[in-house]
Symmetry: C2
Subunit: 247 residues, 2 copies
Amino acid sequence: MRTLKFTLQYDGTDFVGWQRQAAGVSIQGLLEGALERFEGAPVTVHGAGRTDAGVHALGQVASAILTAAIDTPTLARALNAILPPAVRVMAIEEMADAFHARFSASGKVYEYRIVNAPIVSPFLQRYAWHVIPPLDLDAMRAGAAALVGAHDFAAFQGSGSAVATTERVVRAIEWEDGGGYDLPVVVRIAGDGFLRHMVRNIVGTLVDVGFGRWTPARVGAILASRDRAQAGPTAPPQGLFLVRVLY
Amino acid sequence: MRTLKFTLQYDGTDFVGWQRQAAGVSIQGLLEGALERFEGAPVTVHGAGRTDAGVHALGQVASAILTAAIDTPTLARALNAILPPAVRVMAIEEMADAFHARFSASGKVYEYRIVNAPIVSPFLQRYAWHVIPPLDLDAMRAGAAALVGAHDFAAFQGSGSAVATTERVVRAIEWEDGGGYDLPVVVRIAGDGFLRHMVRNIVGTLVDVGFGRWTPARVGAILASRDRAQAGPTAPPQGLFLVRVLY
């Protein structure tokens, strides 16, 4: 019995998300199905985070317990031969028994990409939110500053969640300015944990600030309200990347 | 009557190539179909180069003569509303009557992208050639140097072409080294004109040099032979981008 850590990349465009569902193809389901071939029995895979339909991963992490005697580089090659090209196992590591992709994680880094130009490149349309009116990035940056630190992020939580607490720590929010259709604006958010739709709701709110609909100061007020109805819309999934899981 | 210059980007994955064909969706066919809606009559569009099925464009140029009275920014927006997201009109300019996308062109720049790593990222698999054995980039660079200048490139011409001359001028071949699955090796080739499959045949030959199958000096010998059978295989289409057309 070995506990294995899988580092995965995937293009989420054509999947129902990380999590196994009654209908549709999920990343978790694909990986479990591929591992079952080597194990000869059902395998449960735990993901560090449940990326939604259309959300991408540059560094999702999953864990599973396997008995099959197969060395990890061979297993990685074999899994990649079975999985569709949109899902790749980038690395497999043998871990201590106690390792669990979700419960052992100490934080995550997400990136959200926005093309702020009249036209979006065909090479970015699946990987960014296309926002046409010019965004005031300085205002967005100023608004975002209110979110860094330990806060109750209930105002940015998607509906239908059931979590023990809506307090989370956002460690840093970084920006890359982009430069039109071929270089998107990148918002990089690192934190100890994230509520459902939290990054997309933050980005949707910051874009409303970028449009000048709200002042930067409004972001702190929205946070303090703990009321989802006060925040902006949920940014679309295709701009979101799970970049890295921290342990 | 106005002669218009269209600058286009497209993801070539799902198309039969630039040129209109009996079966399948072509970029030329899509653009002609969209323009016909404004013109109320068939429109012929001339492309600067005929990219093959699966080949991409960051800066393809096309020209067409239109009588419809519509300003160019409005036309660009309207065309992008009709065209699939994989094809974008990035700019439209009004030109002198004599302008012709193909005959007025003085040169072209192509890029070919190679992921030289055990695993290719899901985000690059449609946009690069995945080559697993480590390539000797210094040897490839040395071999490529023999191709710069005015030469008879018959050895690198795809079969089934009928051209007046196989002499072309390659102005420069530049390299970006890449860095594994997320940063491809980029070979940038600028020239006054290119034969059918010329860039892909050059890249296929250079990759054989990178494998150590051939010495760098062999590239000059292949060029001098003017014999297609001497050169390496045709690199696959998905790594090739038409970057820019020079006028």
